[in-house]
């Protein structure tokens, strides 16, 4: 149990089902998938046309690996995948996926939520919101869930 986490930055679309199938083992009774998806409205309710993500790959990948290791340390042995998109995304596309497979669901939920919370707080990824009115802003993460 507990293989090396699957950590990736991807220009291509994220296939959550494929990630789940890849990390799952027959010891896992629970597979939790978090997909962050591009919404039609920004947090301040502006109509969004799309997002672009930029990363510092060396630091981002290292921090994602750390977060996965912390989740395994805190919540017990589990399989983890963390994949984040970069480049341009349209509404409805998945920007980030965190998949956790574990023997039981409690620790899997906890590990999944921990990983996405920490990713949003710590990983060197930046998001530019492009609005329907032609405007655009670099948007930093709020502390909210």
């Amino acid at each position: 149990m507990a293989s090396a986490p699957l950590i990736k930055l991807s220009r291509e679309r994220i296939d959550c089902a494929a990630l789940a199938e890849k990390i799952r083992t027959d010891a896992c009774g629970a597979v939790i998938t978090f997909a962050g998806v591009v919404r039609e409205l920004s947090d301040d309710e502006r109509a969004v046309n799309g997002l672009s993500y930029e990363t510092y790959p060396a630091m981002a990948l290292e921090e994602m690996r750390k977060i996965a290791a912390e989740a395994q340390e805190q919540f017990g042995p589990c399989e983890i995948a963390i994949v984040h998109r970069f480049g341009d995304l349209a509404i409805g596309e998945t920007s980030v996926a965190v998949v956790v497979a574990a023997p039981h669901r409690g620790p899997a939920f906890d590990a999944c939520e921990y990983a996405i919370d920490e990713l949003k707080a710590r990983v060197e990824i930046w998001k530019k919101e492009h609005y329907l009115d032609g405007d655009a802003t670099w948007r930093e993460n709020a502390k909210s869930r």
Binding site: E54, H84, L119, I125, W126, W138
Partner: protein
Amino acid sequence: MLVRVLAFARLRELLGYAEREVELPPAATLDDLWRAIGTPELDVLRGSTRFARNGTLTGPATRLVEGDEVALLPPVGGG
């Protein structure tokens, strides 16, 4: 000495480059680097900018050496 500067997101746009070599006096600090590349628009972002030297976060008093890679990191927005 020469160091390589990487700029991301809003900082990249304000500086007009993603990556550049900068010539600094020997024993220069990150503070010195910021002054060397700075602009008035950049200075308002100083408080929210974090620095990494060769892939590791570090403080503005850090002394640089020839060949260092310095990243200028705005507040993150992933997820």
